[in-house]
Structures are given as C-alpha cells and as structure tokens.
Symmetry: C2
Subunit: 322 residues, 2 copies
C-alpha cells in the first residue's frame, strides 16, 4: 500500500517531489554508529585517573585460550557474562594519572601495531584533552605488546617525546637478555622481539624501577609476577584514598576473576601467576579497594568481592557529570 501510494505520488507530483516525500520516511537524524569518546575519569583523593580505551582484540576460538579448562566450561563462563561464546573479546584500557604535578601514563596501548578493532588509544587520549607532549612519565607494567607498542610507532618514532620511561627492573632484565632469548621456546621469541623493538633504541634512557617503592608521585609499584617475570601492579594513593591498577593479574574478568585458578594462555608461569592472582584479589576484596583492570570491559573499574574460592567484579557506579 505504501508502494502504490508512492507510485501514485510520483505520477501526480513528478520525480523531485516524490524524492522529498521518500526522504521524509527517514528520521531526520541518521543512525549514528558512534559512541562517545571512550575515556572515563575517577577521582582518588586529589589525583585524577582517566581510563583510556584502546578498543579490543578478538581471540577467534575458545580452544586453547584457557590452559586448564575445557572449551565447554569456558563457554559456560562466557555465557554467564552475556558475552559471545564462540570467541574471546579482550578489551584494552590504559590509565592516565594526573597528580596535579605530573602527568603519568600506566602502559601505552597498542599504538599502530593493533588489531583492526583496536588502535583507538590516541584518538581517545586526545578527546580526553591530553597531548603526547604533555606526558611527564610512562610507567610500564610488563613488556607484552599491547602494553608497550604505543611507546614507539612502526616507523620508529618515540610517541611521548618528553616522557621519562620507567620499567620494572626484573622485566627489563629478563627480556633484554640475549641468553634468555637464545634459550627461549619458539613461542616466546616473538615477545623478546616486541620488547627489543620498543626498548633497544632507548635502552640507555630507560629508568629501571624496583618493586614495593614509589615509582612516581603517589604511585607504588607492587610485585605480581607470573604473567611475565616482572609483571607489576600499582597502588595509586592520595590522602586516605587509594586505587589499585591490577594490570594483567587476570585476563578478562568474566573468565579469570570468576575462576581464579584458570590459566590464560598468555601467563608465562601459570603457577606463579595463579599465586599472585589469589594474593592480589584477596587483598583488594578484603580492603574494598577500587581496582582498574587492563582487560575488563570499559571503563574497566570496580570492586572485587570474594565468593568462596571465586571472586566477583562489581563495576564501580558510573560517575556522572554534575
């Protein structure tokens, strides 16, 4: 009936008028397809933390993603989180810490070496009002590519020209050792090359930091090895407030917060990683500390509750503009 009415209108009014009528069948506002810029502020005392999304990557199959769980068990856990069950989508969320005195990044995202659904870090960083030239310091949690590739473009350019780059001493020592590279299993050699691509050109300028000490004003680096030898988490402290950036203490929470004994394929030493995971999740749940994950759904912040031998991630209530 709509078609016949349109046909009649075309006959009566001519093609141009009919085109106008047809256009009026569409909403004045087109389907957007665009989200708001993916940054999110949290306040910790006087410190402002801005989570910056670098999108996500997709691990295209379930088989092999968890070393010690059946695909059926993994799919059941994914279904409980209402995420796709035939693949794993892994989000990336870095933190910008503004102490008022210093602008500090914790990790750098994928840079221009990213999956097609990633590589949006710089766009979101700029949308949040920052420029790379303003960054005083970049503190790195560990040397996997999704955490460090953003430091240096494919063409070799250093992205944060004025920033001091601070890295965990055991991480730098492990990955920059030629002996370790020579004896590494084949599957790990790529990681050595990622670390060398980023850090070799600036090795003499990089600052090595130690665990259990302040790495930047208000930010203390804590040992959390296993995922990598030097994997580090960070407490961010101002007055009585604190926030724990837990880095890759878990991969996606829907799998590994709920099932802390599961080992993601990316955990280099699964037993040590498991011990670190339990220790950290026990601590942040006992202390009711707000946490920030690298691989949780945006804005990737919340609180951990303990539930027998498992844990829950309760997303932090969204802070609205006032």
């Amino acid at each position: 009936m709509l078609i016949s009415r349109r046909t009649t209108m075309t006959a009566l009014l001519g093609t141009a008028a009919a085109a106008t009528l047809q256009a009026s069948a569409h909403a004045a506002a087109p389907i957007s397809g665009q989200q708001a810029p993916s940054f999110y502020r949290s306040k910790v005392g006087d410190i402002e933390i801005t989570a910056i999304s670098d999108g996500y990557a997709t691990f295209p199959k379930i088989d092999g993603f968890v070393r010690n769980a059946t695909p059926d068990a993994v799919q059941a856990a994914l279904a409980e989180g209402f995420v796709p069950t035939d693949k794993v989508q892994i989000p990336f969320t870095t933190l910008v810490v503004n102490t008022g005195g210093k602008l500090i990044l914790i990790d750098s995202g994928n840079g221009d070496l990213a999956a097609p659904t990633s590589g949006i870090w710089m766009k979101n960083f700029r949308a949040a009002g920052f420029t790379p030239e303003e960054v005083d310091m970049v503190v790195i949690s560990h040397f996997h590519g999704d955490h460090i590739n953003g430091l240096r473009l494919k063409d070799g350019t250093a992205v944060f020209p004025k920033a001091e780059i601070k890295v965990p001493e055991p991480e730098f020592t492990f990955w920059m050792s030629d002996d370790n590279l020579a004896k590494a299993p084949e599957g790990l050699k790529g990681n050595f090359n990622v670390a060398r691509r980023v850090f070799a050109p600036m090795a003499k300028d990089v600052t090595l930091y130690a665990w259990e000490k302040e790495v930047a004003p208000g930010i203390v680096a804590h040992a959390a090895p296993g995922h990598t030898p030097g994997h580090t988490i960070f407490s961010i402290n101002s007055g009585k407030a604190s926030f724990m950036a837990v880095s890759d203490i878990t991969n996606v929470p829907v799998l590994f917060v709920r099932n802390p004994d599961w080992a993601v394929m990316f955990d280099q030493d699964p037993d040590t990683a498991r011990a670190s995971r339990h220790r950290v999740l026990d601590m942040v749940s006992a202390d009711k500390m707000q946490v920030g994950f690298y691989h949780a759904n945006f804005p990737a912040t919340g609180f951990i509750t303990k539930d027998g031998g498992r844990y829950n991630l309760v997303p932090a209530p969204w802070k609205l503009p006032v």
Copy 2:
C-alpha cells in the same frame, strides 16, 4: 625547602622567570573534572538506541526510602553495591530510539525542573548529535515528573515542537481526572499538578495509547502497573533482536533488583507494583533479554539473572567504537 629554593630563584632570576618555574611544578594538563558526554549506543537489529543521562538526584536519608525494609537492611544492600550508604543516589536515563524512519524518545527527563545534579539531558542529547526539532514522537512511560517535565519548560514552552506525544491511556485518565485529584491523599496531589502542568496545555493534541500494541514502529507498550496506575514498559524489536525498556519496574537495582519484594516509597500501589516487578524480571531473565532501566547506573543497560527469589543485574558489555 621548596619555598626557600623558590625564594632564591626569585632573587636570582626575577619574578617572571620564577613564575615560569612555579608553573612547571604543575602537570601541563590541568585536572579536568569532566567526563565524556553521557550518551551510549546499543544496536537492536536495525534500530539504534541511545541512552541519554539526565544526571541523578539524591534522596538525602535512608529512613523511609523503602516502605518495608529496615534502614540497616537498606544500608547493607547499598554497601553490597559499593554506593554511598547514608543516602540514595537515583540516576535518570532516557532512551532515544532511531528506527531509521522515525526518531522516538521514551520519556523526556527532568527538563529545567531538576535537582542540581540533574538537568543535563539536553546537553547530552545534543552531544549525541540530536536536536529537539528532529524528534518525531515522544512515548511516555508514566507521569512522574522525572519522566515528563522535560516535555515543557518552566516558562511553558513545548520542547519538542514537531513531536507527537503518546501517553498510556490509563495514566492519562487517572491523573487528568478532577474526581481523582479531589479524593487523592495530600501526598499525591503534587503528582497531579505535575501531570497537569505538562499535559493540560496540550491535552487535545496528546495521543492515548493502549497496552500490548505497537505504540511506534518496532516499539510495543506492555502493562506494568503498580508504580503508577498506567506505568508502562516497552519492548523494542527489530528482526530477531529485542530490548526491554523496563522504566520504573524497579527504582535503583542495587536495592530492588536484589530485593524485588521491597517497595520504594514512590510505588503508588506497592502490591501491584511487586507483582509487575516479579513478572517482568522473571520474563526478561528467562528470555535473556537485554534491558534498559530508567534508574540504574549509566549506561543503565544489562541482563537479569535469577538467583532464588532475588535477581542480579549483569551490566551489558560496553560496546566500544571500532
């Protein structure tokens, strides 16, 4: 020591140079205090839904907020959600539904009759790329002020000049009846006045819609009375996809999804509201439907799971830009 060094520098370099030194003690980027615009897109088949935040209001004390729970029980439930326990913060989230053919609002927010932490609807609506003139239709769930005041400014101006306004027939009949106003308890008379302020000037132009029928392309209105006599929820459908806008089937989920037998002070007929709440939460949990709440934390969308006689709201995974 810093002060004495600064004093020395001033003596050596003069005031202008000292001011520059002082500025360099602050991060180049100031503390922002600003979130990204509070809108969020979900896709349901070919339909795009944009959640628009209107901020929140604060109910300043716990006592009296829940008719049938002790303050201690309410505080314990708030603590489980990691929200403040000495007050209740109630967010507002309206929906814009773009069918491709029509731009439809579900509810209008608080307009310029808002708490100081609210009244941000129009700013977020425009940030999402919309203008009031583009709105083809506003579908109202019920006549409480936070859902309808946005239709008409304090000065009387109609906000959506080209929109058809569609309201639930039983809601309009109840609140516009002079008999009902005359016999209403004192505490309810204010609600009658809110409804009349908004609707009396356009009573003849308002379209009354019926339950269990399509109220707009792809949007079906469903009965959910109790909160008010004509309280309505909406399924939004495209192809095989659907989404349920559950309006005020609960007030804040941390209290009333977890404790569906609790009655918020705003439920006009608590028993009928409770029956509607159980029926709707049972249905959306059994069907694993994505839901949108009016009073959940932004972006106020997720999935309901059943847990004995209680329910959980699992936030929907954040859709990132790609």
